[in-house]
Amino acid sequence: MLCVEHIETFYGKSQALFGVDLCIREGEVVTLLGRNGMGKSTTVRSIMGLTPIRSGRIAFGKKEIHRLPSYAIARSGIGLVPEGRQIFPNLTVRENMTATATNRLNVPVPYTLETVLALFPRLADRLNHLGNQLSGGEQQMLAVVRALMTNPRLLILDEATEGLAPLIRKEIWQGMATLKANGHAILVIDKNLDALMNLADRHCIMENGRVVWRGTTDELAADEGLKSRYLGV
C-alpha cells in the first residue's frame, strides 16, 4: 500500500536519509527501530511531505505522493501522530479533535467524538480545556485521537506512547490491534520492544539514515545480537 523507494532527504545542506526503502502492505503493522537520531522521524516526515525528499519515490496506493503538498498526502488517507505531541495549544480539546476530523474515505464505522472519548475517558472531562493546559500524557492521548479521527487507511505513530501511564499504554496497544484487525495499516516507531513484538508483522532497523536490517518478528526475536548491535539493548 505504501511504497517508499530509495528516498534521500536533507535538512538544509546536511543529509539525513541516504536511500531508504520501505513497504507496507494492506492491514500490516511495520515498525521502524533504531537508536536516537538515526532518521526514523525523518522518514516519517518525508512520507508526510513535511520535509520533502530530494530524490526517490513514494507511492501510496496507486498514487505517487512525494510531490504532493502535505495536506493532499494526508487527505489521501494517512494519519500522523507526530513525535513530541504537537497538539494545537490554542485550541480546546474538543476543537483539537474536531478541527481536522473527517471520514473522507467513507469508513463504515468511523472514529467519531463519541467513540474516541469512550476509548480515552480522561479526555472527556477535559473537553473545554485548552490544549496547552493538558498534562503531558493527556496531550499525547489527544494527539492519538486527533489522528484517529481523520479515519486514515495508514496510521503513522511516532513515539505515540511516550509519557503515557502503563494502563493507558496498554489500551493503546489494544486499540492498535483492533485497527489492524479492521484492515488498517500501521507504521510504528516506539521504544517499547515487547509490545511491538506482540503487534507488528515486520520490522526495519535504521542506522545513520539507512535501513540496515529488515525482517519478521520471529526473525528479530531469534537474533539477540541484532538488538544489541543496533538498538543498544
Binding site: G37, R122, L134, G136, G163, L193
Partner: protein, 254 residues
C-alpha cells in the same frame, strides 16, 4: 531514615474547576532516589512546577533543606540547589550544544555581570565544559545548534543541563520520554551513577526504570498521595495496581 531534604506539606493547586494538587504531601530524604508516579493528569508535573517555583501553590508549604521556600522565586530556588529537567524539551534552540551547557555552568558559578572577558575563556567555564558534554554523550555534536539535534539527543541535552550545576535535589520530569531502548539503558546507568551524588525526584511512566532505580516511591492520584513506600510495597499495593499499574509491575519484575 536520613533527615528530609524536601518536605511538602499538603499542597493545594486549583486550575479553575480542576484541582491538580489536592492536599499533596511527601518527604524526600537526603540521598535517596524518590520516584513520583501516577496516572496521566494526576498532578505530577504540577507538583514539580510548584517545587521549582514556576507555579505558586494556592495552599500548603514547601521546605527545602530546612528553609521554607513556598513563595521564593524560581532562580533563587535554583541557587539553593534545586534543578529540574522539563517534560517537554526546553533548551536553547538556536545556541549550540556547547553554549547550552556553558550557560548551565555559568548559572551556578557566581553572577554573570561580566561584560568583557569572553565566556569561552572564562576560567570557570572552560574546564567544566568538556566533562559536561561527555557526561551526556554529545561531544561530537558540540558545535551543532540544538535545534538540529534529533528528539532523543535533545532529551539528553535537557537532562544534561540540569545535571551540570551539581544540584542538591534534581527534579527529573520524564527523562525517559523519547529515549530509544538503547538510550534508556544508558540513561539508567547515568542516573544510577548520579544517585550517589545527588538526591533525585523522578517522575516517570517507564516502570522498568522506576522499579530498578527508586529507593522509595510515592503514588499520586487525583492530586493526592495515595501511597508511599518501597518499590516492593508499592508494587503489591492493590490500590496502586488498580489505579495505575495494571499488572505491569508484575510482568516486569515479579
Amino acid at each position: 531514615m536520613a533527615k528530609p531534604l524536601l518536605t511538602v506539606d499538603s499542597l493545594v493547586k486549583h486550575f479553575g474547576a480542576v484541582t491538580a494538587s489536592d492536599g499533596f504531601s511527601m518527604e524526600i530524604a537526603e540521598g535517596e532516589l524518590h520516584a513520583l508516579i501516577g496516572p496521566n493528569g494526576a498532578g505530577k508535573t504540577t507538583a514539580l512546577n510548584q517545587l521549582c517555583g514556576e507555579l505558586l501553590p494556592d495552599g500548603g508549604r514547601i521546605f527545602f533543606n530546612g528553609k521554607e521556600i513556598t513563595r521564593r522565586s524560581i532562580h533563587r530556588r535554583a541557587r539553593l540547589g534545586l534543578a529540574r529537567s522539563y517534560q517537554i524539551t526546553s533548551i536553547f534552540e538556536r545556541l549550540t550544544v556547547r553554549e547550552n551547557l556553558s550557560l548551565a555552568i555559568q548559572a551556578h558559578n557566581g553572577h554573570s555581570f561580566r561584560f568583557w572577558r569572553k565566556a569561552v575563556d572564562d576560567p570557570v567555564i572552560r574546564p567544566a565544559i568538556g566533562p559536561a558534554m561527555e557526561r551526556v554523550g554529545l561531544e561530537e555534536r558540540a558545535e551543532i545548534p540544538a535545534s538540529h539535534l534529533s528528539h532523543g539527543e535533545k532529551r539528553q541535552l535537557e537532562v544534561g543541563m540540569a545535571l551540570v550545576g551539581q544540584p542538591k535535589l534534581l527534579l527529573l520530569d520524564e527523562p525517559y520520554a523519547g529515549m530509544g531502548p538503547g538510550g534508556a539503558v544508558e540513561l539508567t546507568k547515568l542516573i544510577r551513577r548520579l544517585k550517589t551524588e545527588v538526591t533525585i525526584l523522578l517522575v516517570e511512566h517507564d516502570m522498568g526504570a522506576v522499579f530498578s532505580l527508586a529507593d522509595r516511591i510515592t503514588v499520586l492520584v487525583y492530586g493526592k498521595a495515595i501511597a508511599s513506600g518501597t518499590p516492593q510495597a508499592i508494587r503489591n499495593d492493590p490500590e496502586v495496581r488498580q489505579a495505575y499499574l495494571g499488572n505491569e509491575g508484575n510482568r516486569c519484575f515479579a
